[in-house]
Symmetry: C2
Subunit: 265 residues, 2 copies
């Protein structure tokens, strides 16, 4: 079996990330117009979000019109060849509208439902985390840094991250608490950026729930390319979203999974 060559796809993905960043930057920390997407709750959709996804879809239409596209703002365009670009034009819109610099643009290429290429891009800091089978790296300031997740041996030595502990309810909250209580350190508030930090060796574990496919697909190659493990809370594929467990290594993943699987959906 020959190893698939993703170099052309990586080129396209970088072009998408550049276009998304250019579309978003003028809206960051300036007068934003925020609609409420749902009547219940607060789910801000900014002009930046739409401009970012439109810019990426326009490129994909030219570069690979037969590929499918699934994005947060404009839904799913079925493909003809088993390839699908799964994109979140701004992950962390709440952070974005608060001026906080850890929102990201998420770009994945899934082949037959398996995410193979992922980009977590932060246009404000200029950081681009990239994952492919067997490798992850950070492009930043003209330099490229190979990423490697940590060998932290146990939860008792681990740093865990999650965006918002109040997103877990009932059994899920109990399971989350069991993991966070077992960890040495817990950080909140970083959305997809926290997964990039697993790849970069700063964070050991991310536990989340209620995610969408476009929240997760791009994270998987970045984390696994750096040696980490990403599954749902049953230990199966996380590509469809829902309950997600990402860990720096298999040992930590097993220890956390044992605490979470009782609350698996």
């Amino acid at each position: 079996m020959t190893k698939t060559d993703f170099s052309r796809d990586l080129e396209i993905a970088n072009t998408l990330a550049d276009a998304a960043g250019a579309a978003i930057r003028p809206y960051f920390r300036t007068g934003l117009s925020v609609d409420n997407k749902l009547d219940t709750g607060f789910d801000p959709v900014t002009a930046a979000d739409k401009a970012s996804e439109e810019a990426m879809r326009a490129i994909l239409q030219v570069e690979c019109a037969e590929d499918g596209v699934f994005g947060e703002e404009f839904g799913r365009k079925p493909g003809l060849n088993g390839r699908e670009w799964v994109i979140d034009p701004i992950d962390g819109t709440r952070a974005f509208i608060s001026g906080l610099p850890c929102w990201t643009v998420l770009i994945a290429l899934a082949v037959d439902g398996v995410p193979q290429l992922g980009i977590i891009d932060q246009p404000h800091t200029g950081e681009r985390f990239v994952g492919l089978p067997g490798q992850s790296w950070l492009d930043h300031g003209g330099k490229r840094l190979a990423l490697k997740a940590r060998q932290t041996p146990a939860l008792s030595r681990a740093t865990m991250a999650t965006t918002d502990p109040y997103l877990f309810k009932g059994l899920e909250y109990d399971a989350f608490s069991a993991v966070s209580d077992a960890c040495q350190l817990v950080r909140f508030g970083y959305d997809a950026y926290a997964y990039a930090m697993i790849a970069a060796g700063g964070v050991d574990l991310v536990v989340e729930s209620g995610l969408q496919a476009y929240d997760v697909n791009a994270l998987i190659p970045v984390v696994t390319g750096a040696g980490g493990v990403v599954t749902n809370w049953s230990g199966g594929s996380a590509a469809e979203g829902g309950q997600v467990l990402a860990a720096a290594n298999a040992q930590l993943h097993a220890e956390a999974l044992a605490l979470l699987q009782g609350a698996a959906a």
Copy 2:
């Protein structure tokens, strides 16, 4: 009464921030040696933290030897003239060791106990938030942007931030919950950076507890220079730390204070 001229002090403060950033950068996202400052709990002190404070103290010894210095790592050196530099070499050390880019260097000049000049500096993103009486600005990428806090009229429209909701206990937690429940949006995890976002018009409110003087002094001029209000939970000076309430405007501050003052220390 003539307005005090802080231009020379600002020059010194910028030199301090440059030196701190240069001392810290080599340690960010690389093999860090982390000691435990306390046997109970996890309070990481990195080589970067110490190098940063040492670099700043060396400059102050040359530039203004009669001024006092109070820093997190090396304590208080009394001054001879009522002026004190209050510095936190890395605010957000837990974010720092996790690779997250929202730790900051905090530099304040207090005169007779009142913080008059403040800098919140983020060396990785290159953002420097500066406050003086009546003005705040952001220096970033060679550009200077004046900062202005928002006129959000009520908590029901406000975005609140706090680093970690689990830092509040008992009565304090109830008071914090009353405020966070009243707000439209709550974000976690940004340490001093969240106060800079009040000045930048992205966040409306920060509620915290258990802070030290060096955690707070630099934030006060940045927030108040942009039109915001910073007090403790009794409505008095926050310069000594403890329970802190920062708001984008007086109306929001009054509304939050009414919910917090029952839990004031």
